[in-house]
Amino acid sequence: MTPWRTLARTVLARPAAAPVPPVDRETASSLAGRLEAGAQTPLGRSLAVLHIDAGSCGGCEVELRSLRRAVYDLERFGVCFVASPRHADVLLATGPVTRNLVEALELAHAAMPDPKLVVALGDCAVDGGVFKGSYAIAGGVGTTLPVDLLISGCPPAPERILAGLRALLEANARSRPGISSR
């Protein structure tokens, strides 16, 4: 291949990251209201997320990892994953909340600074999903913590998770005067 063709291909190539649709206004508005009422510390246009596996099969994690990688590139929206609840704005839990994990979930939530946003990701986290009725589960994140955002799906597709997290970002930016939303 000639150098010119290589150069032209490089210049004209589209980025790997997929284009994204606008944020869901309805979800953003309802979250904005809740945040305005509850948020004590404004966060700005970024969110630090602590992921907790509360009995997930790993399916939701497959899509969460996809979301972080080149195609969806979550960090371009200001969303990053952190290792400690002390640094987290958002607790994002997957799985039906097993009884064996309830205490760890509560402790992590207690260790987070305000506003302690909680996202239940996937059908199991929403209400226990197919595991409803088991002796070993509490039955959804809502049984243990106050949930701000439910993202259903088994597992939810990356676009769906992204839409939810972006609505959370948008709501958060709106709740803070002086920072304009896109």
Binding site: C57, G59, V62, R99, N100, L105, F131, Y135
Partner: protein, 408 residues
Amino acid sequence: MTAFSIVEDRPIDGSGSQRQALTRDDWAQMARELSPPLVALWGDTRTVYALLRQPDGVRLVSTFVEDGGYPALSPARPIAAWFERMVHDLWGHTAVGATDQRAWLDHGRWGHSPPMAMRPGPPATAEPPEFGIAEDLDQILLGPVRGGIEPAAHLRLGVRGGTVEQLEAWLGYTHRGVLALMQGKSPRAAARFAARLVGETTVAHSTAFASAAEAALACDIPPRALALRQVMGGLEQILWRLDLASAVAEAADQPSSLAARNAEALRAAANLAFGHRLMMDCVVPGGVAADIAPGGVETIGRALRQVASPETNPDVRRLEAAVMALPEGEVFAPLPVASGEGLGHASGPAGDIWHWMSLDHGQIASVFMCDPGWVRWPLLKARMAGGQVDDLSHVLATLRLSSSGVDL
């Protein structure tokens, strides 16, 4: 990496699927000698089962539990220890002479214990087990909440300086009680639990489960269903490796955009062809849930050619050939409502998967699902021994351990 192998559709049959009931003495004799390697050990209310590897396949043996116990296999086969702790926590059977009798799945948080025993008692005590970390070592405690996007597990490292001298894992945090949920259901209804034992290998687990049901009922499935299972299994295999490549690259802070884009292309193609990005619930007892969508063959072929050149990559070539040569016909044959017992196998991306079930008039009387996690988790200890603490994230990325597969 191992050579590509298409997911097997049938259990290893012949002598393999015939369970051999042993007397307590014969079992004890086997426990002392146990020359064939142990694949899995599980129980039900009155019996314990052991799956042994043989040169020509596997052998399933069982023995009745007497006085609440059975002779332990762990003195001869250390791999049996986690299984024995699981059998104790779920059914209450004690492995007599076991090397390790600490709690495993039962963290003392359930309403009754053991949950699957004939007559469960009050909950166990909620004490974590004693970890055998030597006193002169510093301890590092990790998890169950470990940050990142990691499965829940507790790791305890005994370190001197930066060197890991001991490592112990305590699992059970993701125990959802799947075996109890499957009991009393038809294989078709219970298949969704098999599909959700380990999300990343959902096709392989669903295939092993379906094969066990089909073996129990001595049913054959249509050739087109068989071929579609092989295509889905092959896709899952490639996806698993792409995700492994991504995970290892990320652990080294060098994310691979190529692996991520290829995985995304394959998941999108799977979604178009089979209706689900992970192909969850697509393989069911009796065949597959639905035929490949119109245009699905071309979609998958295109995505495969994007991922690798079929001319140079034999795995992709084989899979592409399988997609292009799908036999015509039905994709599902309803299973009869009958009784029987069967073993199912699939070569999953992470290793061999074995499912076993016993059916009573079409309902599951007893079931077990053996994930390769049972043999992969102990590798963590082996790989970290004498290594540096800083190696942990890289070792975890290369092993890609699943908690839910062994937590049940």
